[in-house]
């Protein structure tokens, strides 16, 4: 409520929820990983809002390392997507339903 922090927190939460929705509903592997990036955006927004709320830089530093994690995740995920595409010839996540166990 103070200094408009609540607005940013709600916005971050909605971005996270939208990303999660995309993650579980879409079937294209590339769009699934795009949705995780949207979730990252929501978390960055929340971390920075808390940093400003508490008048320190820890949240911003945390968000900076979050960017590193996002880059690592994108690199590995896209490498994996290419591997899976070469195995099955499709980007459909349902093609790997065998792994459901």
């Amino acid at each position: 409520m103070i200094d408009g922090t609540a607005g940013y927190l709600i916005l971050g939460a909605i971005l996270f929820g939208l990303g999660l929705t995309g993650f579980v509903t879409r079937r294209n592997l590339i769009v699934i990983f795009l949705s995780t990036e949207i979730m990252f955006q929501g978390v960055v927004l929340t971390a920075v809002a808390f940093a400003r709320h508490h008048h320190n830089l820890q949240g911003q530093t945390y968000a900076l390392f979050l960017l590193v994690i996002a880059a690592v995740e994108a690199g590995l995920a896209l490498g994996m997507v290419m591997l899976l595409y070469r195995r099955r010839g499709t980007l459909d996540a349902e093609a790997w339903a065998v792994m459901r166990g």
Binding site: G7, I10, L11, T21, N28, I30, Q41, R52, Q60, F65
Partner: protein, 253 residues
């Protein structure tokens, strides 16, 4: 947050969820007009709610509403668009809007870093993969979402829990943080945001910085190991001349 305003927020979320359900790619009935109507209504309701309830005295009203609305609408398009290329381009819009929101919160360095890392590096990688792997046209797995109703219901519950719980749990800043803010007010007027973050990273979080570097190295090795193509071993041995013979037959220029 009082009880009534929480109920109002949940109503707005419900309208947004309904809009999202109608916007999800479906095979039989493209009822996107209803979805757009619901979505716009929920966006307007959300920002009306935030202005009336949340934004306090230091309201950054118009900019906050504009960029926040852009971020949410673009994120919705990312997860509902049938073509992944357009999803990736709408994701750039999300990144730019979030960067603008970070500028509004005095995090200039992070805003620029976000644009460089996401729009500059990660998005290019995504577009490369889309070029390499996406078949022409729109295949059936792009045109049909998987269990949209259950997913939206679950994510509505999660988002409601976060958004309803977090802001009321924030409270006032602690006394020591306010004291620290008061004592930092003098030097932070002189040094910029970038310098301050650099100081933090190089002093307090230096071990984390090194770990981040190691993590990047590991992921690079992992990505190469994952995406390398297996070459049949006879191709490796047959056509390649022995080490000392390379270039023996080549005509010198």
């Amino acid at each position: 947050m009082s009880m009534d305003s929480a109920v109002l927020l949940y109503l707005v979320f419900a309208a947004g969820g309904a809009g999202l359900y109608f916007l999800m790619p479906k095979a039989e009935r493209p009822s996107s007009a209803v979805g757009v109507m619901f979505g716009v209504a929920s966006l307007v309701g959300l920002f009306a709610f935030l202005i009336s309830d949340g934004l306090g005295p230091r309201a950054t009203g118009a900019y906050f509403c504009f960029f926040g609305g852009t971020a949410l609408a673009a994120a919705t398009r990312v997860i509902t668009h049938v073509k992944p290329v357009y999803s990736a381009l709408y994701f750039v819009l999300v990144v730019v809007a979030v960067a603008a929101l970070l500028v509004l919160q005095e995090a200039e360095f992070l805003a620029v870093a976000l644009i460089i890392v996401y729009a500059g590096a990660i998005l290019v990688t995504y577009l490369f993969v889309i070029m390499l792997a996406q078949p022409a046209g729109s295949p059936v797995y792009d045109r049909r979402a998987r269990e949209p109703f259950a997913a939206i219901l679950a994510c509505f519950a999660l988002t409601g829990a976060i958004a309803g719980g977090l802001p009321s749990a924030v409270g006032r800043p602690s006394v020591e943080s306010r004291v620290a803010a008061a004592s930092q007010a003098e030097p932070s007027a002189g040094i910029g945001n970038t310098e301050a973050i650099g100081g933090q990273v190089m002093t307090r979080y230096v071990v984390v910085l090194q770990l981040a570097g190691v993590l990047l190295l590991i992921s690079m090795v992992g990505a190469i190991a994952l995406s390398r193509k297996r070459v049949p071993s006879e191709m490796l041995t047959s056509s390649r001349p022995a080490l000392g013979q390379v270039g023996k037959e080549a005509v010198p220029f």
